[in-house]
């Protein structure tokens, strides 16, 4: 059965989502239980294959519909003809992030979303969002990637517009859908160019045949720029604050992970599809690396400066999401810039690999602490009935749990030692300092600004005298919301206390899956 795990990861949530309209009629409890079981199963399966994929370094292939699902192509044929799923270290790493965040978002929304008939649609969409993320992370086929990208973006757009009776969410959903539709259209154009060149959609096959001629480079531009747009890097970041701030809190936590999935695809395409530093006709890695570094630094800096002036708690956090994306781009960009350096890989081994490790580890940390912060922002907004920071005061008297969760998240995002943000940021600072000291200083400076802006939020929302008259929703914090935040809190603390374990088990295999060629 273990050889079927790649398809089961996608097919089980799909089956449950398809059956949910029928199951929902049996009873609400049954429906919730089914969704919970499915999410737990997905998590279990992902953790179950950690030893095999991450520790032993084995790559799992699954050919959908073939006589032998582990044989890549028919005998006596040099290329795959069916859709191939592939789990390597990086896919597994991203899959675990998506599944864990989905589980905690589900637990949180059990209490957060009102329990009416729309909720079963909400659960369907949440589950299909997970399917979209897992699909695009596990697939090794370009067109299949496109299809799952559509699944992901449509479910995100619909969930962003969940509060249809308020003024702004439908327009935010429209904006998100428009951005995604443009991005996927150009992605498909790039895929078409690849197909015209090589007659196949399989990434590994195209990579082995890659000629790096003009059309390939154009196809790369058409595929990378839309993905950067969907990841929310700086010149194309306009949609991020609008959508993140209008969506319900658990959906925003998922949206962060969805953006990370686009970032995953960006790295995957630039390494596993185009990366071949040994070949002399390859793309200029130094230039590509510097482009990504520039994007990253700009994202970091502009994101945090925009965040400082915000008075809307969710918009503030959304700008921080842009800013934190910059760290990942910076880390991986440094890795790319020295990837094909002329010194035979010594500088790559010296600090490039560490920078990539930091950048990729930051993806996981960011997904967890940013998800946690958005979940706490849901509590804050619900308590005060407004998103304006100036109208909030003294929540810590009432919600100690939320206050503690917020402190953990805020300290993690600012890179304060015992939490996970520090673990990845220190890797980035160290290695980037060897590459270019100025960049490292900028990164630290941005961290300080981040801390400042979160101190502002903490001061205005949680500290101060107890004012019960300002609080709209006085009900005690339900168990589901506590559980959702609790899982992420524990993970943030654990990742901060034992970063070595995670780096050795998950992050190093992810990096080595990207840079196998060298």
């Amino acid at each position: 059965m273990i050889k079927h795990i790649p398809i089961l990861l996608i097919a089980i949530p799909l089956l449950a989502a398809f059956m949910l309209p029928i199951i929902g009629r049996i009873g609400i409890k049954v429906r919730d239980l089914v969704v919970l079981m499915v999410l737990l199963t997905v998590n279990f399966l992902l953790f179950y294959i950690i030893p095999e994929v991450a520790l032993n370094g084995k790559v799992m292939y699954y050919v959908v519909g073939a006589v032998d699902p582990s044989a890549l192509h028919p005998e006596s044929l040099g290329f795959p003809i069916r859709i191939v799923l592939k789990i390597d270290g990086f896919s597994l790493f991203m899959g675990i992030i998506s599944a864990v965040v989905a589980l905690s978002a589900f637990l949180y929304s059990q209490s957060y979303i009102k329990n009416d008939e729309r909720k079963s649609y909400y659960q369907i969409l949440l589950m299909l969002m997970l399917v979209g993320m897992l699909g695009l992370e596990l697939t090794n086929d370009l067109f299949n990637f496109f299809v799952f990208m559509e699944v992901l973006s449509i479910s995100c757009a619909a969930l962003v517009a969940y509060n249809t009776e308020e003024r702004h969410p439908p327009y935010a959903g429209y904006k998100y859908m428009l951005i995604s539709a443009i991005a996927t259209s150009f992605l498909l154009l790039g895929i078409g160019f690849c197909y015209a060149q090589y007659g196949s959609f399989n990434m590994d096959y195209i990579h082995s045949k890659m000629q790096h001629n003009l059309i390939d480079k154009m196809a790369m531009i058409f595929m990378i720029i839309p993905l950067a747009m969907k990841a929310g890097a700086i010149p194309m970041h306009m949609w991020v604050p609008d959508t993140y701030s209008e969506a319900p809190a658990p959906v925003t936590a998922m949206l962060v992970t969805a953006s990370q999935a686009s970032l995953y695809a960006l790295f995957r395409f630039s390494f596993s599809l185009y990366g071949n530093p040994v070949s002399s006709v390859s793309i200029n890695y130094n230039t590509l690396g510097w482009i990504i570094i520039t994007l990253g630094v700009l994202s970091m800096f502009i994101g945090v400066t925009m965040a400082l002036v915000q008075h809307d708690v969710k918009r503030l956090m959304a700008f921080h999401a842009v800013s934190q994306t910059g760290y990942m781009l910076l880390g991986v960009g440094v890795g790319i810039a020295v990837y094909a350096a002329a010194d035979g890989g010594s500088s790559f081994n010296a600090y490039g690999k560490v920078a990539m490790t930091g950048g990729i580890f930051h993806i996981m940390n960011h997904a967890f602490y940013k998800g946690l912060l958005f979940l706490t922002s849901g509590v804050i907004v619900r308590r005060f009935g407004t998103r304006n920071l100036d109208k909030m005061i003294g929540l810590a008297h009432r919600d100690t749990f939320t206050a503690v969760a917020f402190i953990i998240g805020a300290m993690a995002i600012a890179g304060i030692p015992p939490f996970n943000g520090f673990a990845s940021k220190i890797l980035i600072y160290e290695s980037v300092y060897k590459f270019s000291p100025l960049l490292s200083v900028i990164a630290m400076f941005v961290s300080v600004l981040t801390l400042a802006s979160f101190v502002k939020v903490f001061y205005s929302a949680f500290l101060g005298p107890r004012r019960d008259d300002l609080i709209v929703d006085k009900s005690p914090l339900p168990f589901g919301m506590k559980a959702g935040m609790g899982i992420l809190c524990v993970l943030v603390v654990l990742l901060g206390l034992f970063p070595d374990v995670v780096i050795e088990t998950l992050v190093k295999p992810a990096v080595s899956a990207l840079v196998t060629i060298r």
């Binding site: 067109f143 299809v147 559509e150 449509i154 757009a157 619909a158 517009a161 249809t164 009776e165 308020e166 003024r167 702004h168 439908p170 327009y171 959903g173 429209y174 859908m177 428009l178 539709a181 443009i182 259209s185 498909l188 154009l189 078409g192 197909y195 015209a196 604050p241 609008d242 008075h311 809307d312 407004t386 998103r387 304006n388 109208k391």
Partner: protein, 119 residues
Amino acid sequence: MGNYFLYVTVVLLIFIGVTALLYKKNLIKIVIALNIVESGLNLFFLTLAYRPGGTAPIFTLAPGLEELKMVLPTPQALILTNIVIGFATSALMLTLAIMTYRNNKTLDIQKLRGVEDHD
């Protein structure tokens, strides 16, 4: 241009669509523009698959095997998928546009721009 006129049509369709996407202000007009871009993409894939003088990749009622020349089947299958996806996307976007209109009484992007400045 000679042989390239179908490709040129593709590029012009995409050009028209993207121009409208960038400069049109009406939410429904934007959806039309998006559909035009998608039509261009569909035409692009089918053009890639075309073989002059060939037949459709269906053996029922095909001529004999000797002179059989078929167009490529995979792009057609993909375009089937893409057409349905395009329809689904535009249905969702139109629904969201309807909801936007109900809540804001306008479909103009520039009037909706003030939407995000609120507390």
